[in-house]
Amino acid sequence: MSTERNLYTISVYTENNIGLLNRISAIFQRRHINIESLNISPSEIDGVAKFTIVVNMSEDNVKKIIGQIEKQVEVIKAYYHDDEATIYQISGLFKIKSELLFEERQIQNIIKESNARIVTVNKDFFVLEKSGKKAELVELHQKLSAFGIMQYTRSGRIAVTKEEMKISTLLETYHN
């Protein structure tokens, strides 16, 4: 059913232009669509930026949104994929009191089991990094919350697709 809501990853290849974020986010805002997460980074092509936007909406509507995004002059191409069609990750950082690392044996087990990585340690705090699916981060967060977390932050989703994007070929056709 194309009217059923689902999680979609929208990938937008763009010229790296000031104001484009505003232009793209306005498309969502105007239609009252909540952006679940947003990440902007360089792409595999020099000078081309990639927006990775996660939304929860129907396929019918996501198609319309893709049309509106591609209509923007400085957008090269936009795609949408469901979770099956992408390989995706998010990343989280946890800042925790250093004393807990030594006093609470349980924390060391949690770190080991979750495949989290200690980024830095000093006498006051240590920072734990964990990449994976959202559920894994939520679970880790829950476990660590019991001991007290000084700071916690989670990144937007980054994703690559199983199918080829063919942006380079596209850019060549634009040139011709």
């Binding site: 104001g19 319309k64 049309g67 002059v73 400085e74 090269i76 634009y174």
Partner: protein, 577 residues
């Protein structure tokens, strides 16, 4: 910077000249063959005005009385000529006053370039005097916009602006230029923009789509064409007329599509939508193939979507891929420029006449004529109707005039009853419904096409939203014929209050000034008509005038526009009374 120098050295034939950014702006306009611009000066754009003073033999700057007027004039200019209109304003309030016109141009696909001055770049973000984030503000209502902070970037930015505004589905663009960039000197050269890497103005027509569309059209028993402004924007009138005539398919129009096919054409079956004609609305829900050309299934056209042409196969000729399946599911999408796609499909279309089906339109017209049209244009009861004024203008102008309307009852009546022999003759604010559009748009239209008769028709409400542009008419000696259909009400809102709010006329009654005295205050010849027997002579006098003329016609106070598809109802539920 370094690569720039190398490039310039390699390209030894490129002639550059050391000039200021502000002079460059004017030179860019000249390069784009712009001869008339509309605007209003102020602090952050003064260097440009200084250059306009020097180049006044090449570019005529029209000082409007408000920046909104500048945008509407630029729109009127663009709509009658098919060329890009240019509006110019200072920073802050000058820039924000452009927004209504920009939004109007965006929703009505009007090519327009707006240039705004901005505070010096070192003051950006400091809440400087007359600083406003016009790029941020205009983003949702422009096709493209940008800010320029270096003189050297001006030519490329403006070249891109003109290219984007006019190509593909046209639209407004805004270029915001800081004052320091206007003062800065640089080596000027101009190259027209012909492509932007990430931008496809005209999408490729999918293989097989023309054949699929032709097959549906040829096999249809009750086909119906509905067309919009796309036919006019792509200048496809000839191809369109040929298609209609060869296929023998009745064709109805959106208000922005009006005039692409003469009103008198036998296959022109009238206006679609809320206040459109009876037959095209009713029969939308009876046709077997609906052929939409350069239109976007606006809600005012479709009424309730779930009950719109559900029985029909839909073919959509469209330049903007985002319009496909946006409101109505399409069976065959024919992407591309209408001129190209209509030209290409014509040889595949069988000659036909669809006489029985066409007769249905004629039968329904007869019903509408008896119930509505007769009383609108040949009224017998006391009180002038808007319809008989339009009819009189038709007679006196022989259908050759460009009709520029504002928004409201008079707009619907004018669109319903005006006779158009020529394309690009119905200039109105369709999508945004901007009251105040008409008068300044008529000024722009008249200046773009001085050889044409331009009649501005407004209501007493919208007229007063931009009434100050009478000053522009006077100063520019623009021979616009200005008609106000005065019912001392905000008529359309009042009509809704009568029909849907139990006649609670909240803030719709207008206590109006002496309009004739106001026009005369601007030294414009003026007349007021209150009786039927005075109308023909007054219209004749107005049309005969070589200069601007103001005509106020006092019409019945509580006249209603019918037919009407009530808001949210199906087009089948169109009411005749």
């Amino acid at each position: 910077m370094e690569t720039q120098t190398i490039k310039n050295n390699q390209n030894a034939t490129k002639v550059t000249e050391r000039i200021s950014g502000s002079e460059a702006i004017v030179r860019c306009l000249i390069e784009e063959d712009i001869k008339i611009i509309y605007g209003y000066p102020g602090g952050a754009i003064m260097p440009v005005y200084d250059e306009l003073y020097k180049y006044q033999d090449k570019i005529h700057h029209v000082l409007t009385r408000h920046e909104q007027g500048a945008t509407h004039s630029a729109q009127g200019f663009a709509r009658i000529s098919g060329k890009v209109g240019v509006a110019i304003a200072t920073s802050g309030p000058g820039a924000t006053n452009l927004i209504t016109g920009i939004a109007d141009a965006q929703i009505d696909s009007t090519p327009m370039v707006c240039i705004t001055g901005q505070v010096p770049s070192h003051l950006l973000g400091s809440d400087a005097f007359q600083e406003t984030d016009i790029v941020g503000i205009s983003t949702p209502v422009t096709k493209w916009n940008c800010q320029v902070t270096k003189a050297a970037d001006i030519p490329a930015a403006l070249a891109k602006a003109f290219y984007i505004a006019r190509s593909g589905r046209p639209g407004p663009v805004l270029v915001d230029i800081t004052k320091d960039a206007q003062f800065e000197e640089f080596d000027f050269s101009y190259e027209k923009c012909t492509k932007v890497r990430s931008y496809i103005p005209v999408p490729k027509t999918a293989e097989g789509s023309l054949e699929a569309a032709a097959k549906l059209i040829n096999e249809a028993k009750k086909p119906f064409i509905i067309w919009g402004q796309g036919v006019i924007l792509s200048e496809a009138e000839t191809q369109f007329k040929a298609l209609v005539e060869k296929s023998g398919i009745p064709a109805g129009w959106t208000i922005l599509g009006a005039s692409a096919l003469p009103t008198s054409h036998p296959l022109n079956v009238g206006m679609l939508g809320m206040h459109g004609n009876y037959a095209p609305n009713k029969l939308t829900n009876e046709c077997d193939v609906l052929i939409a050309i350069g239109m976007r299934f606006d809600d005012r056209v479709t009424g309730k979507l779930d009950e719109y042409a559900t029985q029909a196969k839909v073919i959509h000729f469209e330049i903007d891929p985002a319009e496909i399946d946006k409101n109505i599911k399409t069976d065959v999408a024919v992407l591309g420029d209408a001129k190209g796609t209509l030209g290409a499909i014509l040889p595949m279309i069988n000659e036909n006449s669809h006489e029985d089906w066409h007769q249905k339109f004629k039968d329904l017209y007869e019903i509408e004529y008896e119930k509505v049209i007769k009383n609108d244009i040949h009224p017998t009861k006391e009180g002038l109707t808007m319809g008989e004024v339009i009819k009189e203008i038709n007679i006196q102008s022989k259908g050759e005039a460009a009709i520029v309307t504002d928004v409201g009852q008079h707009q619907m009546i004018a669109c319903r009853y005006a006779e158009f022999n020529k394309t690009k003759s119905n200039i109105t604010s369709g999508g945004l419904g901007t009251m105040g559009f008409g008068l300044p748009a008529a000024i722009g239209a008249k200046m773009a096409a001085p050889e044409r008769e331009v009649v501005s028709i407004s209501g007493d409400g919208g007229y007063q939203m931009t009434i100050q542009e009478l000053g522009t008419i006077f100063q520019q000696k623009a021979a616009v014929k200005v008609v106000v259909l005065n019912n001392d009400f905000l008529g359309m809102v009042r009509q809704w209050q009568q029909l849907f709010f139990e006649k609670r006329y909240a803030s719709t009654e207008m206590v109006n000034p002496n309009f004739v005295a106001i026009a005369e205050g601007y030294y414009i010849k003026a007349k007021k008509v209150t009786k039927r027997e005075e109308l023909a002579d007054a219209v004749a006098e107005m049309m005969a005038s070589k200069e601007a003329y103001f005509l106020e016609v006092c019409v019945e106070k509580e006249g209603n526009v019918f037919p009407m598809v009530p808001s949210g109802a199906s087009v089948s539920e169109i009411r005749l009374e």
